[in-house]
C-alpha cells in the first residue's frame, strides 16, 4: 500500500487516489466510467491500443489513454468533453466498419461492450459503403470457437493467456486490418484456465461451443454461487435458463479467484446434476422402495429408526456446512460415533499470473467444512455389521455394488442421484443438488462463503439441512426450528466456536473467515 495519495478532479468531482493509480480507475472512483476495450483490470499489460478510453486532460495537447495515464496531483480530467466523446464515437464507427452486425445470432448480444457503446453513441447508420472484409470463424480450442469478423483485436484473450496463464500459444496473426487471433495452425489451445478468454472477450468473438445459440442474455436468470469443483471456492455466477444451467462464469472476488476460474469448474455445475435424479422420498416396503410424501417419510423414520443404537455413517464434502452440521446432529441422535467422508483428488493446476488461484487437489468444495464438523477422511465406505444402522449422505457410492448395506439393520440414504449402492436402502431421501439450494462452504483457506439457489431442485427434493431439521423435530418436538438458511446458519454458528461472530447476513458475497484456522489444515 502506497501511503502517498494524489488528488485530482474528474468531471468536476475531486477524488483522492493512491499514487500510481491510472486515470481510468480514478475516474471510476469519481463516478465516471470511461468506456474501454483493451484495458481489463485483471490483466497487467496495458497496450492502450483500442483508443477507446481517451480522455481530455487539461494542459495536454492530445487526448490521452486513461488506462495508462497515471493520475497526478492536481490533474483535471474531462471524460465527457466534446473532444473525448467525438473520439469515442469515431472508434465505434471504425470498429463497426467490417463488423458483421450479426447481433441477432450473436451469443454476446445483450452483454456486448460494442453493442452497448454503439447504442450509447447513437450511430444508427454507417457512412461505410465499401464491401466488408470477411474472415470467417475458427476453432481456437476443443470447446471454444472464434468468430473473427466480430473480433475487435483488443488482445485481451492473448494477454490473459500470456500474462495470467503464462502460456504463449494464443497470438495475433497477420497485421493491420487483416489481423486476427490464432493458435499455431493445426494446434488448439490447451490450458486448464483457457475458458477465461471467453469471459474477457468484450464482444462475441470468443464463445464456448456448448453455449453457442443456447440462450440470449436477457432470457437467463443469474445467481451468485461458489464453484463446487475443488476446495478453492471460486466465486461464480450461475446462468440458468428454463431451470438448466447454461453457463458458469467467474464472479470477482479479489481474495479468492480474482476475475478467473478454471475450465473444470465451469463444467462442474453443468455436469453435477446430470444423471438419474432422486425427486421423491422412498421407503422400503418389502422388496420394493415406494414413493411417499415427505410427511409419511419423516413420520415413518421417526417411528422406525433405531434411535441411539449406533452404527456407521459416511457424508460428503460437497454438502453445505448447514447440511453437514445437521448431519452431525442426526448422527448423534442415531447414536453413531463420528462419521467419515471420502475426498476425490486430482492434479493441482496453477495459474502463474494469479498464484492465489489454483485448481486444488481436493476436488470437492467443503472438505474443510466436513473436518470442522468432526468428520474425518476415509478411503472406503464404511461396512456396517449385521443389523447395524448405516447412514450415507451425499456420497454417490460409485464404487459400491447393489448389495452394499444389505446386511444393515436400517439403511438411510440421503442424496441427489439414484445409485446402485442405494439399492438396499431402507429409506431414500432426495436432496437438492449443486446450485439448487442456499448454503455455505469453507474453502481450503478457511474462508466461509455463501452460495445461492440458482434453480429449482427436481420433484420434491429439498436441501439436506431442511430435511434433517424436520426429522429431528419430529423426534424432539422442542428443538428450535431452522426456518430458513439464515436460521440454519445461526444455529450452526452458535454451536461451532470456529464460526463465532459470523452470520449469514454478515458474510455477504465476500465471505468471512473461520476463527480457528487449525481446523482446516487438512484441506489441500
Amino acid at each position: 500500500m502506497s501511503e502517498h495519495v494524489v488528488s485530482l478532479t474528474v468531471d468536476g468531482v475531486e477524488v483522492k487516489v493512491p499514487a500510481g493509480t491510472p486515470v481510468i480507475q480514478a475516474a471510476e472512483r469519481a463516478g465516471s466510467v470511461v468506456p474501454h476495450y483493451c484495458y481489463h483490470p485483471g490483466i497487467p499489460s496495458r497496450p492502450a491500443q483500442c483508443r477507446m478510453c481517451l480522455v481530455e486532460i487539461e494542459g495536454q495537447p492530445k487526448l490521452q489513454p486513461s488506462c495508462v495515464m497515471i493520475a497526478q496531483e492536481g490533474m483535471i480530467v474531462h471524460t465527457q468533453s466534446e473532444q473525448a466523446l467525438e473520439a469515442r464515437r469515431s472508434v465505434i464507427e471504425f470498429l463497426l466498419l467490417n463488423h458483421p452486425l450479426d447481433c441477432p445470432i450473436c451469443d454476446a448480444a445483450g452483454q456486448c461492450m460494442l453493442q452497448d457503446y454503439a447504442y450509447e453513441t447513437g450511430q444508427l447508420s454507417s457512412r461505410y459503403e465499401e464491401p466488408k472484409l470477411v474472415l470467417g470463424r475458427d476453432r481456437i480450442a476443443e470447446d471454444i470457437l472464434y468468430f473473427a469478423d466480430r473480433c475487435i483485436i483488443c488482445t485481451r484473450c492473448v494477454r490473459f493467456m500470456e500474462d495470467i496463464a503464462g502460456d504463449n500459444s494464443l497470438v495475433v496473426a497477420q497485421r493491420g486490418h487483416k489481423a486476427y487471433i490464432d493458435t499455431f495452425p493445426g494446434q488448439e489451445l490447451e490450458h486448464a484456465f483457457r475458458g477465461n478468454i471467453v469471459d474477457v472477450c468484450p464482444v462475441g468473438a470468443l464463445v464456448h461451443e456448448d453455449f453457442v445459440f443456447k440462450a440470449r442474455a436477457w432470457d437467463m436468470d443469474t445467481a451468485p454461487g461458489i464453484c463446487a469443483g475443488c476446495s478453492q471456492g471460486c466465486n461464480i455466477e450461475v446462468n440458468v435458463k428454463e431451470n438448466q444451467v447454461v453457463r458458469v462464469k467467474p464472479r470477482y472476488n479479489a481474495d479468492v479467484n480474482g476475475y478467473w476460474m478454471c475450465d473444470e469448474g465451469r463444467r462442474h455445475l453443468v455436469m453435477a446434476n446430470r444423471g438419474l435424479r432422486l425427486d421423491v422420498p422412498m421407503i422400503r416396503r418389502g422388496d420394493v422402495l415406494e414413493a411417499v410424501t415427505w410427511s409419511e417419510a419423516i413420520e415413518w423414520i421417526a417411528a422406525s429408526a433405531p434411535w441411539g443404537a449406533g452404527g456407521v455413517a459416511v457424508v460428503h464434502p460437497g454438502e453445505s456446512n448447514e447440511t453437514l452440521f445437521a448431519l452431525r446432529e442426526l448422527i448423534g441422535a442415531l447414536g453413531i460415533a463420528g462419521g467419515g467422508y471420502r475426498m476425490s483428488r486430482g492434479e493441482e493446476v496453477e495459474l502463474p499470473g494469479f498464484p492465489r488461484l489454483k485448481l486444488r487437489q481436493d476436488r470437492a468444495p467443503n472438505g474443510a467444512g466436513a473436518e470442522l464438523f468432526g468428520f474425518s477422511e476415509t478411503d472406503a465406505v464404511p461396512v456396517p455389521e449385521a443389523g447395524q444402522t448405516l447412514l450415507v449422505a451425499g456420497d454417490r457410492l460409485l464404487d459400491a455394488g447393489s448389495d452394499y448395506g444389505a446386511q444393515a439393520g436400517f439403511y438411510v440414504y440421503l442424496g441427489t442421484h439414484m445409485t446402485e449402492g442405494a439399492s438396499s436402502a431402507t429409506v431414500i431421501l432426495p436432496l437438492a443438488g449443486a446450485g439448487e439450494a442456499d448454503g455455505t462452504y469453507v474453502n481450503f483457506d478457511g474462508l466461509v462463503q455463501r452460495f445461492h439457489q440458482a434453480m429449482q431442485p427436481p420433484g420434491v427434493a429439498r436441501p439436506g439441512w431442511m430435511v434433517i431439521d424436520r426429522l429431528l423435530r419430529e423426534v424432539e418436538p422442542d428443538r428450535p426450528p431452522m426456518r430458513d438458511v439464515a436460521a440454519a446458519f445461526g444455529s450452526m454458528a452458535a454451536a461451532t466456536p470456529e464460526l463465532e461472530g459470523l452470520s449469514w447476513r454478515g458474510l455477504g458475497l465476500k465471505g468471512g473467515r473461520t476463527a480457528g484456522r487449525a481446523t482446516v489444515t487438512g484441506a489441500r
Binding site: R46, P47, A48, R51, R127, E130, V172, R175
Partner: protein, 425 residues
Amino acid sequence: MGYPYSHDLEVGTILSRHFGDESARRLNVWQEYGGYAALAKAVGMDATQITGIVKDSGLRGRGGAGFPTGLKWSFMPQEPTGPHYLCCNADESEPGAFKDREILRWVPHLLIEGCLIAARAIRAEHVYIYVRGEYFPYTRILNDAVVEAYEAGFIGPDILGSGWDCELTVHIGAGAYIAGEETGLMSSLVGGRAEPRVKPPFPAQSGVFGRPTTVNNVETLAAVPMILSEGSAWYRQWGTERSPGTKLWCCSGHLERPGTYELPLGIPLRDIIYDVCGGIRNGKKLKAVIPGGSSTALLTASELDCASTYEGMQEAGSSLGTASPIVMDEDTNIVRAIRRTAEFYAHESCGQCVQCREGTAWVAKILHRIEMGDGRLADIDTLYDLCEQLTGRTICVLADSVVFPLRSSLDKFRADYEALIGGRA
C-alpha cells in the same frame, strides 16, 4: 557528392564525398580518405565531451522528426547500472526516401565510425544496425565493411588499444515499415512484431532488452565523424541557426535529374527542384510536390519558395521529414497518387490502434472508389472527417502520416476530386 548526378550547390564533405566510388567501401581506401580518424579522437574523449560537441553542432535527427541528437544522447543515464544499447535505424521505408541506402552502399565505414562514436557518447556496449530486409545488396556491402572493421580492431574488445569494448551487430528486418518507428524497431529487434508501444517508458529509460537505448537514423550517425573531427562551428557554417549542417535530399518523381544530393539546409525548395534536379522532365509544369517523403503535406507550384529547413518547411505548411521530395507534373492524377500513398499506409499499419487499422484502409477504399468514377460529393466530407479522426489519437504517427498528404490534396486539389466525382451527390 550526389548520386547519380551532382551539382555545384552541393557540399559533399560530410556525407556524400565518396558516393559513386566503389573503392571507398574498402577499409584501406577509406583510411586513406581519413576514415576512423574521428574514432581515434573519440576514444580519447569521454561521453560528456562527445555529446557536448554534437549538442553544440545543432545536429538534428535525420529520420524525420528532427529531434536534436545531442539532447537525445544526454537523456541516457550518466551512471550506467548495466548495459546500454545503440540502435542504428536503417529501416528506411518512407516512400520517397532512399538516402540511407546511399550511405550504406557507398560509405559503410562512415556509418560504422559514426555508430561507434555515438556508442561511446551514450556508453553503449553494443550497437545494432537494423537494416530493412529488402536492402540485400546494400546489407552485403555493410556486412563486408563490418567484418573488415572488426578485423582491424575498430570494433570489438579494446578498440584502438583504448581499453574500451564495443560490439556491433547487423540485423535485418523482413518487410515492415513500422519497424522504422523507434519503439517498433526495438520491438522487432528483440524478436517481436514491430508494434510501437506507448511512451513512457522512453527508450533512454527502457529500450531493447529492457535497457537504456538510443535509436538514431543512419544519416544522423553518418554526420557524427566529421562533426567530431572538424568541430561544431565548422558544421554550423552550413544551414541555419535552427537547422544547421547539410542534408541528403532524395529527389524522385517527374524530375530531369532525380537522385540524392547533399545540400546545405536552407536552400529554397524551388531551387532544389528546378536548379539542382534540372526541373520537371519533358518540359512539363509542376503540379505538386510532396516535399519530405510521402507522409508530409503536399505543396503546389506557388508554394516552393520556402527555405528547405525544419522551420521553413513548417512555415510553408508541410515539413522537412526525410527531405525526400516526390515531384508530380501537370498530368498527374492526384487522387490516384494519394490513393497509392494511402494504400501504402493501410498495408503497413501494425493494426493495434483501431483508428489506424480501420481508418487507413477505409481512406484507401474511398479514394479508390472515387478514382474508379464511383465517388460522391459526400465522400469528400467523409475524407475530411477521417482526417480529423486519424490525427493525434494513436500510439504512433502512422495514422497521422496518411492525413498530411490527404488533407493537403483535398485542400489544394479539390477540383481534381470533384472532376472524378462528376457532381454525384
